[in-house]
Amino acid sequence: MTKPLKPEWVAAGKAIYEMKCLPCHKLTNVRLVGPGWAGVSKRRQPLWIINMITNVDMMLAKDEEAQKLLELCLVRMPNLSISPEDARSILEFMRSNDGEP
């Protein structure tokens, strides 16, 4: 994990968020289609988040936490064909959204 955060990664993550995640996720704790992202990097392990982003179909099939979210939201989070590098940038952006320096 980077410490402090890498500003380039945060910026890249924000750009991807705006293109591909914003229709369903707010940056606050308000649920839209999916859960709001406030606090997500604290309540979830980094690997879990990366899996959720890059391999959502596997997560919804196997992971209990992901399945609980589906029961709550009733919409399957789509596979958005995110590369591992892009997923890492998104995680960086989530951490920055949660106030990490």
Binding site: E18, M19, K20, L22, P23, C24, L32, V33, L74, V75, R76, P78, N79, L80, S81, I82
Partner: protein, 662 residues
């Protein structure tokens, strides 16, 4: 497995030999189906077929994709006809695809397909398709199964002998079924319809359309001028005959009325052999005449998800009466239709619709006859080779009304017979008929996977029948068309399956799924979307007014459209909904429709942008929604557009959720 033939007797009469059907209802029904057939065509749930079958759609104007051996229909690709299901020809992006020198054409008649080859073998890159009525050739991508390009053919009428290709897809060809006065600018096409005028003014032209090897882009390389005859079908030479192309023609009588009788007078018409390599030399040497014409060239750009239509204004015409060595006529009995070259490129099979034999021409003998000037005479200034000198031999008593021939790569040819309603298998070397099976009813084209290539995949023959009658549950006077699948792995052909087809299938080809399946595109990458009205982020969704024109930059993702509340649009405005599907996963299209739009729906693939034009005609609330069931909350994927009176001062506002009015 049980090797005894079990004839199924339930509800059908069984007799032997072909059924004789002449367009009227057959007197007796025969069906010979053997045991163990079901498992040969059964593709278990979730399993894939072995072959793609690419089937022309006839008067549907498109091309249909089936699986073999199951006969299941997967997709209808719109090509020359509008398709309200996908928005093809209705969306702003696709409208230019149907542009021609006659303006926008909503329909055409799609007869033949040709699958691209390299070294004479299927390579799984493109499907070529002809438009018969307003002469055109289309190219379809095997990655997206979408029409990528359409080129209009000038100096042509009734583009029937098309879009057959040469060995390495150097060219796809076109030819006039109707002799016709040329389109040359300044020429007067307003000519009388009588014998003298026909002989003087009516010409036939075959066109060689070059295909750029990397992109597939088409351009008319040159046209060859022929006397006024009806050119019917074509096949390129291959291997030893590579560099030549053969066209069948009828109406060498040059009749312009009651062709049924008047074009059936002579006992031989012609197969025209064109030496296209020699033509290329003449073109290079500047020997062609420039014909000033206007024709549309429509190209789909996958980066902008949009088509453009431009006009070209010239072709090069070669006149074989002035340029020796490029065109020879081979006499062919009688009113030939099919003109098929075998996998070795040695033989050309003519199929005289009204002949009682099948003539098989030898390419080697043709070259010798040309070298020895072994001529029977001339026709309108073109050399006619001696029939006996170019003939390999005749298949005697094959049946009545031979139409088309395909090959299995094992030395056998299979010919379809319309009048006697059968497929006939014969040996190319010995010209002996070795097997025949009835078809139900009146087969037109037939196809063997890889049949027209240098390397047939064999295994099956498919008959595309012209008459369906009682084969399926009836649906009133208008019936589905019918295809039949035969196993050709053994000595005897065996009927395996009937399957219904759409439009009126003419020619079809089949190729192994392994050549196509791995590269089938799953979705368009948003990052690569260069549509001028793309909305890549929901935060950029907006509505912009420019005078009377309103652009709605809308996004779609499960399960909302953004924006979904719009006010301030007025009666008489021109509203363009530019919808970007933000999904990035396979098989998540969204649709779009708005009440009273007078337009089709849009079906937008993941990562794609498409535009629907809408001119509101009355004051009120116009609901819009996603037409493709995309998620559990699909029914919620909807919105409202407020349409006010033409002069109203309702300001333009829009929003979604928080940004909508409370």
């Amino acid at each position: 497995m049980n090797k005894r033939n079990l004839l199924l007797l339930a509800g059908v009469l069984v007799l032997s030999g072909p059924a004789f059907v002449t367009g009227c209802k057959p007197k007796q029904l025969i069906t010979q189906v053997q045991s163990g057939v079901a498992e040969k065509v059964y593709v278990a749930p979730g399993k894939h077929d072995e072959f793609y079958n690419v089937v022309s759609g006839g008067f549907s104007g498109g091309v249909a994709i089936y699986g073999l051996p199951s006969g299941r229909l997967f997709r209808q690709i719109p090509v020359f006809s509008q398709n309200a299901e996908s928005g093809y020809g209705y969306s702003e992006e696709t409208k230019p695809m149907l542009n021609t020198s006659f303006g926008y054409q909503v329909w055409d008649d799609q007869h033949h397909v040709s699958l691209s080859t390299t070294k004479g073998e299927h390579d799984g890159r493109w499907i070529f398709a002809n438009g018969n009525n307003t002469p055109r050739i289309a190219r379809i991508s095997f990655e997206t199964f979408r029409t990528e390009e359409i080129i209009e053919i000038p100096n042509s009428a009734g583009n029937h002998s098309s879009p057959f290709i040469t060995e390495n897809t150097e060219y796809t060809v076109a030819g006039t079924r109707f002799a016709y006065p040329l389109d040359d600018e300044g020429a007067n096409p307003d000519v009388p319809l009588d014998d003298a005028s026909f002989k003087k003014n009516f010409k036939s032209v075959v066109s060689m359309i070059a295909v750029e090897p990397k992109t597939g882009r088409m351009s008319i390389a040159f046209q060859v001028l022929l006397p006024g005859i009806d050119i019917d079908l074509a096949r390129a030479g291959k291997l030893k005959s590579h560099g030549w192309i053969f066209f069948s023609c009828y109406n060498s009588e040059q009749a312009h009325t009651l062709l049924e009788v008047n074009a059936s007078q002579k006992d031989k018409d012609f197969i025209v052999a064109i030496n296209w390599k020699q033509c290329e030399e003449y073109v290079k040497a500047g020997q062609g005449r420039k014909s000033h014409v206007k024709y549309a060239h429509n190209v789909w750009d996958e980066r902008t998800h949009s088509a453009t239509s431009t006009f070209e204004n010239q072709t090069i015409v070669l006149d074989p009466t002035q340029l020796p060595g490029i065109a020879y006529l081979m006499p062919c009995p009688k009113s030939p239709h099919g003109c098929d070259t075998d996998p070795t490129g040695s033989y050309i099979v003519g199929s005289g619709k009204l002949a009682a034999i099948i003539p098989v021409f030898s390419f080697d003998k043709m070259l010798r006859a040309i070298a020895a000037k072994d001529l029977e005479g001339e026709f309108a200034g073109l050399p006619v080779l001696k029939y006996a000198s170019v003939l390999h031999g005749e298949v005697k008593k094959p049946g009545l009304g031979p139409l088309h021939t395909e090959f299995d790569g094992k030395g056998f040819a299979y010919t379809s017979f319309f009048v006697t309603s059968e497929l006939v298998k014969w040996n190319i070397a010995t010209l002996q008929v070795v097997d025949r099976v009835p078809t139900y009813y009146s087969v037109g084209h037939m196809s063997i996977p890889g049949g027209p290539t240098t390397k047939p995949h064999g295994k099956y023959a498919i008959a595309y029948n012209k008459i369906t009658k009682d084969r399926y549950l009836p649906t009133g006077p208008e019936l589905t068309q019918s295809a039949q699948l035969f196993d050709i792995t053994g000595e005897k052909m065996k009927l395996l399956l009937d399957f219904p087809t759409v439009g009126e299938p003419h020619y079809a080809e089949a190729l192994p799924a392994t050549l196509v399946e791995p590269k089938s595109k799953k979705f368009y990458k948003l990052e690569e979307n260069q549509h001028p009205y793309v909305t890549k982020s929901e935060k950029d969704a907006r509505v912009v007014r420019d005078g009377k024109v309103v652009h709605v930059y809308m996004t779609a993702i499960r399960s909302h459209l953004a924006p979904d509340n719009i006010e301030g649009v007025k009666v008489g405005d021109e509203v363009y909904f530019h919808i970007t599907n933000l999904e990035q996963d396979w098989d998540v299209p969204h649709g779009f429709a708005v009440k009273g739009s007078g337009n089709s729906e849009l079906l937008i693939m993941p990562g794609e942008t498409a535009t629907l034009k809408y001119v509101p005609s009355r004051v009120g609330i116009a609901p819009f929604y996603c037409t493709d069931f995309c998620s559990a909350l699909h029914q919620e994927m909807q919105g409202y557009l407020r349409v006010s009176a033409a002069g109203s001062d309702v300001p333009l506002t829009f929003g979604l959720g928080d940004t909508a009015k409370p």
